[in-house]
Symmetry: C2
Subunit: 432 residues, 2 copies
Amino acid sequence: MRITKFHIPTLKEISSDTSVISHKLLLKAGMIRQLASGLYTLMPLGMRVVNKIMNIIREELNEIGDSEVLFPIMQNNDAWVRSGREKGYCGPETLRIKDRHGVDMLFSPTAEESAHLIFEMDVKSYKNLPITFYQINTKFRDEIRPRFGLMRCREFIMMDAYSFDINEDDAKKNYNNHFKAYLKIFKKMGLTAIPMQAATGEIGGDLSHEFHIIAENGESGIFYDKKLDEITENLAQFDISELQNIYAKTDDKHDEKNCPTLPENLIYKRGIEVGHIFYYKDNYTKKMDITIQGQDGKLFHPVGGCYGMGVTRIMAAAIEVNNDEKGIIWHKSISPFDVILINLSPKDEKIIQKCNEIYNLFMQNNIDTLYDDTHSSPGQKFNNADLIGIPFQIILGSKGFEKNKIEIKNRKNGQISTVLIENLLQEIIKLL
Amino acid sequence: MRITKFHIPTLKEISSDTSVISHKLLLKAGMIRQLASGLYTLMPLGMRVVNKIMNIIREELNEIGDSEVLFPIMQNNDAWVRSGREKGYCGPETLRIKDRHGVDMLFSPTAEESAHLIFEMDVKSYKNLPITFYQINTKFRDEIRPRFGLMRCREFIMMDAYSFDINEDDAKKNYNNHFKAYLKIFKKMGLTAIPMQAATGEIGGDLSHEFHIIAENGESGIFYDKKLDEITENLAQFDISELQNIYAKTDDKHDEKNCPTLPENLIYKRGIEVGHIFYYKDNYTKKMDITIQGQDGKLFHPVGGCYGMGVTRIMAAAIEVNNDEKGIIWHKSISPFDVILINLSPKDEKIIQKCNEIYNLFMQNNIDTLYDDTHSSPGQKFNNADLIGIPFQIILGSKGFEKNKIEIKNRKNGQISTVLIENLLQEIIKLL
């Protein structure tokens, strides 16, 4: 994509009151724009990041056998009466409406009821289990005081999955598959997520984990056994139940006296919650009285769990973790582009031609390239490239060109390597 | 995907009152389920079709330089006051709400106001034009009587694009690029869309085209010059302005006396509207008083247009056009899977092994395969395969296996070709 044909409205200064770095950098890098309190437009660069995050989530959930669906955003309040959550859930944060026929509806904050209604329609026998539906869809929460940009807004993209199993053993296997998929998803995105025992709250049930990304400005304080740091880095070698039993709790649940971990092994950090998973047994199938036939011919209430992951929140959390004074530093898996090609001599016909060649070559090789073909000064181009945080910058000016050389700058550590132009493609492929 | 691990709740009969074939077949094939009046869940098969449609739209719009964004679904009513559309637009079909602070909000039926607000924030000069934003997002319309399944529901997925240009000439070029992209998108999906002159209605402006897919049960009657049939088949050879001037109008706008086409060249058919594009000049920038600096240094109101396309509606229209008494017939570009592999002898270990081999081979070659590994009877498997409409069925039973042969059935014409098992992959690659 040529910058002259793309819309990246970077800003030098931002006037709005932003207290967290992700909010500030998302605005400065032109990735989001606020249209009303807590309501943001994902701009072209931001949309590309979100599309990449969604696709990583899809890959890993499809891999464990989940099926993607899309539930309606508008839900009939009757379903919430049936599940017993009509009064309790979220209170005034839930956006409610009467439709033109006077029917009470609400705008999806979560979709347990919808998933159970869909299950009830067609699933009649234990033979059809396990089933897990997931959707990636917009959710609504009318926060009284939206803040922190994408961290706490009124409309956001979430992945929510709902599983149905015959019995607790199967359900816990399913739960563990999701637990593991979550760790894989975060790892793929270059993020370390710490799983921790959590309360089940309004969702119900007796088993639940939150996933927190460690970040200085995280909203929650978390205590955890230092073993977790090693394990999440070497996921494949560890048994999930072992992992789940290692101590990790948010500060409101941490109990110093009853903590099984020795004080010297306990780490305190701050974290951003990006996922929450629940095993809620047959709470919903019982409340809604949904039964299917078991192997013994008798009707029973299947058990299940739900799995949430904040898509737009992950984008913000990734920035909280990976940034410096110059701007964002994207991990290559979720960067809006693989590389940025910077033409330092945009008036020099030979350099233009060479940049065009490189751009076309990269596109043919499926290297997603942002090409800075503007007439801005080199300084402005470097600042912009550092701000928007694409992991590799490819820099061509007339000096290098004379020697048939081109620079590759690593955004994270600032290191520059100079390569022969004809070797550029293979060098970049190695990096990606 | 193995059917035993997927959720395709096909139905023999449907009890609900369905008057159009797409509604009936979407329900029978387990692709959608209704959760409330006019509110449908996209089930796993339906979701796959919608994902394919969305990706075709993205490809073609990215190709003409449009940038994908995502506007919030909740909009502040103030923006609609500013554009002057607050009172007029859609009336009671627009879902309105007061948020917890008493602010008037509405749930996006369209997003001209949002696009203009975003434009206003960052675009200050003619140098930044042209810009076209598009989003694929859920839209709401509180129909008084939702009907025809996905054809007229209360919540649906739409692509909506908004372009900004310096002057009428540029804007019309942009309009024509979208006009052409629309025809390409439909052609890629195996659909013929007839473009026709349309009224601009509540969107405003003086140039507008609707795109209708010809279908017996189409909601609109349309009159058009038979030349259009030839032209839309051979798009590349025709000039767009020539194409736009060929007579085509919906029956409510058709005027027999002033029709420039000879009666013998006039065709009357029924159509389903799947797209609508508008050039609305500076209507919005003037009403909202949005200006940028021109080449002469003076401020001016840029001009623009908008482009809508019904994503879930296209899925329904494709079924209206391509079906038979057995079920749906998908075009390969939007089929939920490329092929369906049918194991006729699911108790025979050798056949199971061979089917597994084929399945794995196909997956390695990126052939999206649905594998019917169930224990249903051959008759049930054939009926289901015909109902869900994947274009190519690959059928293996013990008789064929003994001769090292396998059948490929074309869903559309029912023709069966028998090939050697070792040649299967290359035969399928030829077909896709």
